[in-house]
C-alpha cells in the first residue's frame, strides 16, 4: 500500500497528517480502499472464529462446549458479521481502489463522504461485538431477525438495530459515491459499454443497495418500535402480522444476496480474460445478464418463505420467477467457460481462485435451482441443505472471488509480487477444506437435520464430524492469506506496471505501486 512517504515524495506541498490521524482524516480513495480491506480481513477472522466454535460444538452429539443460547448468539453474529462486516466491506474496498483506477478518474466523486462511509463501519462493528458482554448476551434470533422471537430479547437487540442502521447508512453513502463516480468521472472516450465489467457490476450493485437498504432500515425500525414503543406491526394480538416482517425483510435480503455476488462476478470477469490471454466472451450479454439478475432479484423474495403457507398462486409465481434467474446466471457461466476456451491459460493464484469460483459457485447455483422447486424446498427449508447452498455461493462464490481479487491486484497496490508458493498453498487448502465442510451438509439436510441447532440426533454424527474437520482446515489455512498479504506489503520481487502478461485496462498503465494520486490529468481512451 502506498504510504505517507510516497505522498510526500510526489506532493511535498501538501501537508498530510501522519500516524493515526492520517487514516482517520484521509479522503484518498486508495487509503480508504485499504481501510475497508483491512477491516474486512479483521472481521473475517472474528466471524470465522465464531464459525469454528460452532463447528467444534457440533463435532459430536450432546452439549459439550457452549450453552444453547450462546450457540444461537454465535450463529446469529457469524451471519451478520460475515455479510455486513466482511463480504460487503471487502467489495467496497475493491470499489474504492479499482473504480477510479479503471475509469481514469483522480479519486471518488465525494472524498469526504467516502471517509465518513468507512469510519461508520468500525462503530457498527463495535456495537455488534460489544453486545456479547451485555446482559443476556448478543442477539440470538438469527441474522434474519424474525419476530416475535426478536421482540423477546434484551438490550443487545436494540443495539443491533442501531448497528444495522449505521451499516445501512454507510452502504448508501458508499453507493451514492460509486454511482456518481462511474456516471460522471469516466476518462474521455470511455463509454459505458467500454467499462471494465467489474465497474458495471458495481454500478448495478450500488443501485440495488440504494433501493433495498432503506427497506431494511424500515423493517428494523418497526422491530424497534414494536419492542420499545408499544406498536404492533408484527404482533397478531394487536392486529399485526409476523409474516409481514418476513416479506419486508426478504424484499431487502434477496437483492442483498446479489449485492454479495455481483461484484464477485465482476472480479472473476476481470481475472479470467487476463490469464486466458483472450478478451471476455460476450461482454454485452454479461452486462445484460447482470442487469436482468438485478431486476429479477426484486420479484423472487418469497422463495425464502415457501413454508409460511402462501396461496397456491403465490407459491407458483415465486417458484417460476426464481427458476428464471437460472437463465442469466447460466449465460454468465457459459461466457466464462467460453472465455477460457481456446485461450492460452496460465494458473497463477488469482486464476485458480477464479476457476474454483466458476465451478463451485455453479454447484451453489444448482442447489439453488433445487431449492427453487417449491415442493422440494418445503422439504429442505431450514435444514442443513440450505446452509450448504448459501455457503457454496458465499464462500466458494463471494469469498473466493475476493481472494482472487486480492491476489490479482495486490502487486498493483503494494508494488511487490506476492509469494506464489504460499498463494498456491492457500488456494489448495481453502478449496479442499471448503468442500469438506460444506459438501456433507447437503446430505445432512436431505436426511433431515434442521439448521441452527446446537445438538443433533445420532444418525447425523459422521457427516458433522467430517464437516468440523474441514472447517478447521479451511479456517486455519486463512492464516496463510494473512502472511501473504503482510509479506507483500513489506517487500519482495518488484512488480511491473503491467504486472500480468495478459492484463488490460487503465489500472495497468500506472506504475506499481499505484502512486498516491493518479490520473490528475485524465487519460484518453481509444
Amino acid at each position: 500500500m502506498s504510504d505517507a512517504a510516497h505522498a510526500h515524495d510526489d506532493h511535498g506541498h501538501h501537508a498530510h497528517p501522519t500516524g493515526m490521524m492520517r487514516w482517520l482524516t484521509t479522503t484518498n480513495h486508495k487509503d480508504i480502499g485499504s481501510l475497508y480491506l483491512f477491516f474486512a480481513l479483521f472481521m473475517l477472522f472474528v466471524a470465522g472464529s465464531m464459525a469454528l466454535l460452532i463447528r467444534a460444538e457440533l463435532f459430536q452429539p450432546g452439549l459439550q462446549l457452549v450453552h444453547p443460547d450462546f450457540f444461537n448468539q454465535l450463529t446469529t453474529m457469524h451471519g451478520l458479521i460475515m455479510i455486513f462486516g466482511v463480504i460487503m466491506p471487502a467489495f467496497s474496498g475493491f470499489a474504492n481502489w479499482q473504480v477510479p483506477l479503471m475509469l481514469g478518474a483522480p479519486d471518488m466523486a465525494f472524498p469526504r463522504m467516502n471517509n465518513w462511509a468507512f469510519w461508520l463501519l468500525p462503530v457498527a462493528g463495535f456495537f455488534l461485538l460489544v453486545s456479547f458482554w451485555l446482559p443476556g448476551g448478543a442477539v440470538a434470533g438469527g441474522w434474519t431477525m424474525y419476530p416475535p422471537l426478536f421482540i423477546q430479547g434484551g438490550i443487545s437487540y436494540d443495539l443491533t438495530i442501531l448497528a444495522v442502521h449505521i451499516m445501512g447508512l454507510s452502504s448508501i453513502m458508499g453507493s451514492i459515491n460509486i454511482i456518481t463516480t462511474i456516471l460522471n468521472m469516466r476518462a474521455p472516450g470511455l463509454t459505458l459499454m467500454k467499462m471494465p465489467l467489474f465497474v458495471w457490476t458495481w454500478l448495478i450493485t450500488a443501485y440495488l443497495l440504494i433501493a433495498t437498504m432503506p427497506v431494511l432500515a424500515g423493517a428494523v425500525t418497526m422491530l424497534l418500535t414494536d419492542r420499545n414503543f408499544g406498536t404492533h406491526f408484527f404482533n397478531a394480538a394487536g392486529g399485526g402480522d409476523p409474516v409481514m416482517f418476513q416479506h419486508i425483510f426478504w424484499f431487502f435480503a434477496h437483492p442483498e444476496v446479489y449485492i454479495l455476488i455481483l461484484p464477485a462476478f465482476g472480479i472473476v470477469s476481470q481475472v479470467i480474460p487476463t490469464f486466458a490471454r483472450k478478451p471476455l466472451f460476450g461482454y454485452a450479454s454479461m452486462v445484460y445478464a447482470t442487469a436482468s439478475i438485478a431486476v429479477l432479484s426484486f420479484i423472487v423474495w418469497a422463495h425464502h418463505m415457501f413454508t409460511v403457507g402462501m396461496p397456491v398462486t403465490a407459491q407458483l409465481f415465486f417458484m417460476f420467477s426464481t427458476m428464471l434467474i437460472a437463465v442469466p446466471t447460466g449465460v454468465k457461466v457459459f461466457n466464462w467457460v467460453a472465455t477460457m476456451w481456446k485461450g492460452s491459460m496460465t494458473f497463477e493464484t488469482p486464476m485458480l481462485f477464479a476457476i474454483a469460483f466458476v465451478c463451485l459457485f455453479t454447484i451453489g447455483g444448482f442447489s439453488g435451482l433445487v431449492l427453487a422447486i417449491a415442493p422440494v424446498d418445503i422439504q429442505l427449508h431450514d435444514t442443513y441443505y440450505v446452509v450448504a447452498h448459501f455457503h457454496y455461493v458465499l464462500v466458494s462464490g463471494a469469498l473466493f472471488a475476493i481472494f482472487a481479487g486480492i491476489y490479482y491486484w495486490l502487486p498493483k497496490w503494494t508494488g511487490y509480487m506476492y509469494n506464489e508458493t504460499l498463494g498456491k498453498w492457500h488456494f489448495w487448502l481453502s478449496v479442499i477444506g471448503m468442500n469438506i465442510v460444506f459438501f456433507p451438509m447437503h446430505f445432512l439436510g436431505l436426511a433431515g437435520m434442521p439448521r441452527r441447532i446446537p445438538d443433533y440426533a445420532l444418525q447425523f454424527t459422521e457427516f458433522n464430524q467430517i464437516a468440523t474437520v474441514g472447517a478447521f482446515i479451511f479456517g486455519f489455512s486463512q492464516l496463510i492469506l494473512l502472511i501473504v498479504v503482510m509479506k507483500a506489503i513489506k517487500g519482495g520481487e518488484k512488480a511491473t506496471a503491467q504486472v500480468w502478461e495478459g492484463a488490460e485496462g487503465l489500472e495497468w498503465t500506472v506504475p506499481s505501486p499505484a502512486p498516491y494520486h493518479t490520473f490528475e490529468t485524465a487519460p484518453v481512451v481509444k
Partner: protein, 384 residues
C-alpha cells in the same frame, strides 16, 4: 414430457435407492417416503438432480478439457473471438426450455400439496417454547408432546439412546391411510412442524392458522423436529408421529379420554403439601426447567432465577398470577391455558418450597380455579 419425467424419476429413484440400501445408515438422499406427497417430492428431487448432474458434466467437461488443452505450458496460442450471437442465443433458450420441463411436474406437486379439502380428520397443532400441543378436533382429545430424552444424555453423563433427541413423552397418534388435515399455529414465537417421511412441513405462526395435509401409507413411527429457530431450546422440541391401524387409533382415543376423566377429578381435590411438591417437581422439569434451570437459578441476563426470587418468596396470589398469565414482553408464557389447576397448584407449591425458598405454604387446585375467574374456568383444559 410427463413420461420422460416419470422415467427419469424412476431411474433416479432406482439408482439412489440402491445406493441408499447399501449406505442406509448414512443417508445421502431424502428420507424414505411414507406418503404420496413425500414420494412425489422424492422423485421430483431425483429428476432435478439428474438434470443438474447432466448439465454439470457437459459444461465442466468442456471447461476441464479447455484447462488441459488450452494452456500456455502446452504451447496453445490464444484465439481472439469474443462473441457469437447464435451461440449466445442458443445457450439462453435451451436452459429456458429445460426449466419449463422442470416447472411443469413441480407445479403439479405444488397444487396437490396445497389441496387440503375433504379431510378424514383434523388436528390442531400448536407450537410452544418448547413443546408441541395436539388437539384432536374430531375426537376431543388434547395432548402435549415434550422431549423425553433425559438431560443426562444431553450433558453426556449417560450413554445416548437410539432415538436421542427424536423421542417424546406423548407422540401424535394417527390412523393409517386417512387424509389428515393439520391446523398449525403457535402460542409464542414462530415454530415449524416437520416430519420428513410424511412430506409435511409448515411454519407455526402465532395468531394465524395455516393448514397442511398428509396421508400416511404405512404403519410406523415417523420422527421430525421443529425447523424454525424459536429460541434457546429450538433443537429440543422433536415431533413423533405414530401411525397405527384404525382399531389401535380408536383404542388410543378411548384411553386418552379415560385419563382425562381421572385428571379432571384432581382439580377438585385438596392435596397435602408433600404431594403437591412431588407432583410439582415433575411439572417443573417438563415446563419450567428449560429456562429457569433444574436448580432454579435461571440464566443470568436471560432468564431470572426462581430460587430466592421476589415472586416465589412474595404473596402467593402474585406468584399464581404470573404462572397463569405470563409476563408480557418476555419469554414467560401464560401457562393457564396449558396446565390444569392441579398442575399449576403443584408447580407453584414446588417453587415456593424448593431450593432456598422455604415458604412452607401451598396452593390448592381450588385457589387456582378462583384465580382464573369464573369465565376462564371453561377455557382451562380438563387435563394435561
Amino acid at each position: 414430457m410427463k413420461s420422460m419425467w416419470k422415467k427419469a424419476g424412476v431411474v433416479g429413484a432406482a439408482i439412489l435407492a440402491a445406493s441408499q440400501s447399501a449406505l442406509a445408515e448414512y443417508g445421502y438422499n431424502l428420507q424414505v417416503p411414507a406418503s404420496k406427497v413425500a414420494q412425489d417430492v422424492f422423485q421430483l428431487h431425483n429428476f432435478i438432480m439428474l438434470v443438474c448432474l447432466g448439465i454439470f458434466v457437459v459444461v465442466f467437461g468442456a471447461m476441464f478439457y479447455s484447462l488441459l488443452k488450452h494452456r500456455k505450458s502446452v504451447g496453445h496460442k490464444a484465439a481472439n473471438f469474443h462473441e457469437n450471437t447464435t451461440v449466445e442465443l442458443v445457450w439462453t433458450v435451451i436452459p429456458f426450455i429445460v426449466l419449463m420441463g422442470m416447472a411443469y411436474p413441480a407445479a403439479k406437486v405444488v397444487i396437490d400439496m396445497k389441496d387440503t379439502s375433504n379431510p378424514d380428520m383434523t388436528i390442531k397443532v400448536t407450537g410452544y417454547q418448547w413443546k408441541w400441543g395436539y388437539d384432536y378436533l374430531n375426537d376431543d382429545v388434547s395432548i402435549y408432546s415434550t422431549l423425553s430424552t433425559p438431560r443426562e444424555q444431553i450433558n453426556g453423563s449417560e450413554a445416548k439412546g437410539e432415538h436421542y433427541l427424536l423421542e417424546v413423552d406423548e407422540p401424535m397418534v394417527v390412523p393409517v391411510g386417512k387424509r389428515i388435515r393439520l391446523l398449525i399455529t403457535a402460542n409464542d414465537v414462530l415454530h415449524a412442524w416437520w416430519v420428513p417421511a410424511l412430506g409435511a412441513k409448515q411454519d407455526a405462526i402465532p395468531g394465524f392458522i395455516r393448514d397442511i395435509w398428509f396421508k400416511a401409507d404405512k404403519i410406523g413411527t415417523f420422527r421430525g423436529q421443529c425447523v424454525e429457530l424459536c429460541g434457546k431450546d429450538h433443537g429440543f422440541m422433536p415431533i413423533v408421529v405414530e401411525v397405527v391401524s384404525e382399531e389401535d387409533y380408536k383404542a388410543w382415543v378411548a384411553k386418552k379420554k379415560g385419563g382425562a376423566v381421572v385428571a379432571a377429578a384432581d382439580n377438585t381435590k385438596t392435596f397435602e403439601t408433600a404431594e403437591l411438591v412431588e407432583r410439582g417437581e415433575k411439572v417443573y422439569q417438563a415446563n419450567c426447567a428449560a429456562c429457569h434451570q433444574a436448580n432454579g437459578m435461571g440464566l443470568p441476563g436471560a432468564f431470572p432465577a426462581i430460587s430466592g426470587s421476589k415472586v416465589a418468596t412474595g404473596p402467593i396470589a402474585d406468584h399464581i398470577n404470573i404462572v397463569l398469565n405470563g409476563k408480557a414482553g418476555t419469554a414467560m408464557a401464560a401457562f393457564g391455558a396449558q396446565l390444569s389447576d392441579a398442575d399449576i397448584a403443584a408447580v407453584v407449591t414446588y417453587q415456593r418450597n424448593a431450593w432456598d425458598n422455604k415458604m412452607g405454604d401451598a396452593a390448592q387446585p381450588a385457589t387456582i380455579a378462583s384465580a382464573r375467574g369464573g369465565a376462564a374456568d371453561a377455557a382451562a383444559p380438563a387435563a394435561q
